[in-house]
Amino acid sequence: MSRLIVLIPEGYFIDYFVYSFTPDAEESERDSSKTGETCRVEWTGKIRFRGAGLTSEELRKLISKYSPVAITVRLLYGGEEFKKTQVYDGDVLEKLKSLAVQSPLHIPPAVRLLRTLERIVPTPEIMLFFETAFFANLPLSERTYAIGGDLPDYYGEGLGDVRRFGYHGIFHGALAGKIRRKGIEARRILSICLEPIPEVAGICDGKPVTVSSGSTPLEGLPGNTTCGEIDPGIIMLLEEKKKWGPETINEMLSRRSGLTALTGKNVTIADVVRGDREFERARDLLEYRLLLSCGAAIGVMGGFDTVAFSGRYIEVAVRLAERIVPKLAGGASEPFLPSLFFMQDSLDKLIAESYCRSRLKAELAY
């Protein structure tokens, strides 16, 4: 039995999870005949922590206590550089640093964390999981914005790659994988990820063809405190009438908007979906926006076979499905019942599974 530590940096926090796993090829294969899964990870019970600002000393203690074979680090943004899960090394660090300008809130803390990890001896294998990687090869027509083509001339190279990404790629990717391994007949998946910033992806033959998020997670669906898609003219108006700068506008749109603005309360998507009368207005808006995003995905996929839910608010997915799936199916010219799929797993578990699977594959190949 080996151990794995999963690190998920989120703002000022780093969530860390310790998993034990059995990368036994034979046993796992036998197991897969029943569950469709090729490997099994177990969360080792009591040792799931959430720590604020892990110091290098704490990290060292954590590692010496559990002596993991590997540490995985979840990164929100990988740009065009990182199109899949990546073993960490010096070259990767340099590439990551070059992305700091494009994702100034997420990359620098991640770089600091990685520098700390690599100084711990003996260093376990470090694997990087990128939320954007699943979406690296979105179709050109989906990822391209209709803005002037000579942007770097005006705004400098630092602007980076101006294109659409998705930001819950680990959920969407794991979900597509599970559906495939379970042998569910689903060529076209509407994948609805219920996180603080929800995200809809259209997945065709295992590949994403459309996603509601944009060059940042702010575009698309409204979230707990984020506005989602708004008319670009509104930003110009806020500058003109309020004389606000980009920082102030950004703060309002990302921290004081969304469901919080609609309800006047500090609520989550789960609260709004669960709440009856109280949050009706917010719920109607959220459901309508989900309907539009799903409809757009149906439009470009030419239909859908499955609606699949994931994310930390999965507990309200059934309720949400009851309300929106009939409407989604109602667009069809022939009556049909799409299959439904609910993935309960947490992000850390999905990362652990994914790591084990890749390790298993390597061992089988060996």
Partner: protein, 401 residues
């Protein structure tokens, strides 16, 4: 309206005197079309020239002036006959559409000065969209800011969407109040889709301003708000530069670097292997397909998809590409019918298509005239016959409706 025939028509071009060529008036009358160079420096003067041209023809004098107002804000929610105390509101809405509204207000004021006895109506591009429900028009931003600045979805191209919806109801022999459609107004400049349920608009791809939604000739359409803020920060806080970029240098022009007209791009993409033209076309069509899918879902089994305005009426390639692979929704286009339209409205759907695909010629002038006439009958006649107090009641009724 008794008849929908155009008696006289025309257009004043290049108003303002700052262009390379001088201004001119194109006049259509019983003797055909004539073009005359004129010297005008303002919309007011242009209007005077129009009235001169009308006076040169024998015929009835106008009973009413009808003006199109692109954006009526919260002040003008529905079409109306203008009363004296509306002029203050007109001043307020000028800034809501800085390019479109000020000239309209200028002309309305000139009409009042020169022809005080002739009533005037404003017909709004936003009025048709006043039925959009709150969950679709609300932007989830702090309500105090939204209320103070009137930030909500207004929707545009309403006059056209309403007109082609009406035409389609007639063409399909379905009562308007039972008709469900997705209307695609694809113009050579702006473009928007409208979801219509029971003859009423329930959503429009344009939002607070005409910038949101589809890829347009020079407008970007949907764009990540954080990306816009990033552009502003990288430009050193130069809002007007970014505004200019998104309004005038983006869209088809920005993508293709070739032309702002999608027809030029189609011809380049289909005749050469110009990758940038092909990409531009793909992005343009993809966005239409996304919204079409969204609205087909929202409306749920509509009677028809409507194509209208310059691109929608005259480019079979776009209609075909947009309707491809939509069997799921019961949408099947007949390629031959699509390429051989002899008269409008035309049904270009295949026999076994559950959703009809109708190409309708939009006629905003006629739609404006019809709307103004309707207001005139229900509101204006009373205006001349009754006391002002009574008229106010009428006004309140129509605002609430």
């Amino acid at each position: 309206m008794p008849s929908g025939e155009e008696i006289l028509g025309g257009e004043v071009q290049r108003i303002g005197g700052r262009t390379a060529e001088s201004a001119r008036i194109v006049h259509r009358g019983p003797r055909g079309e004539s073009i005359r160079r004129i010297s005008v420096n303002s919309y007011k003067e242009a209007f005077t020239e129009v009235m001169k041209a009308l006076a040169s023809e024998s015929g009835p004098s106008p009973d009413i002036f009808a003006h199109r107002l692109v954006q009526g804000g919260m002040e003008f929610r529905s079409n109306t006959i203008i009363r004296d105390d509306d002029f203050e509101s007109l001043e307020l809405v000028k800034g809501l559409a800085p390019i479109h509204n000020p000239p309209v207000v200028e002309i309305i004021e000139e009409c009042r000065r020169a022809y005080p006895e002739i009533p005037q109506a404003v017909v709004l591009d936003t009025a048709f969209h006043s039925t959009i429900p709150s969950y679709a028009y609300t932007y989830p931003i702090p309500p105090d800011v939204a209320d103070q600045l009137g930030i909500r979805k207004y929707g545009f191209h309403g006059i056209s969407h309403q007109f082609v919806t009406g035409e389609t109801a007639e063409y399909l022999h379905i009562p308007l109040e039972e008709l469900n459609v997705v209307s695609c107004h694809l113009g050579s400049g702006g473009a928007s889709l409208c979801a219509v349920v029971g003859g009423k608009s329930v959503d429009n791809t344009m939002g607070f301003s005409p910038l949101q939604g589809l890829v347009m000739s020079t407008r970007c359409g949907d764009l990540d708000p954080a990306l816009i803020l990033k552009l502003i920060a990288f430009s050193g806080g130069n809002y007007s530069q970014v505004n200019d970029l998104l309004n005038k240098k983006s869209g088809v022009l920005g993508l293709s670097g070739l032309s702002s007209d999608i027809r030029d791009v189609i011809s380049r993409a289909t005749k050469t292997d110009d990758e940038r033209a092909q990409m531009t076309l793909d992005v343009y069509l993809w966005r239409v397909r996304k919204y079409l899918g969204a609205y087909l879902t929202v409306v749920g089994c509509p009677h028809a998809i409507i194509f209208t305005d310059t691109i929608g009426e005259s480019v079979p390639y776009v209609r075909e590409a947009v309707c491809r692979n939509l069997d799921f929704f019961g949408v099947k286009l007949d390629e031959w019918k699509n390429r051989n339209i002899s008269h409008y409205p035309a049904d270009i759907s295949a026999k076994d298509s559950r959703v009809r695909i109708i190409v309708v010629k939009t006629n905003e002038e006629l739609a404006i005239a019809k709307n103004a006439y309707e207001r005139f009958v229900s509101q204006g006649r009373r205006l001349s016959e009754s006391e002002k107090g009574e008229c106010l009641d009428e006004q309140v009724d129509c605002l609430n409706s």
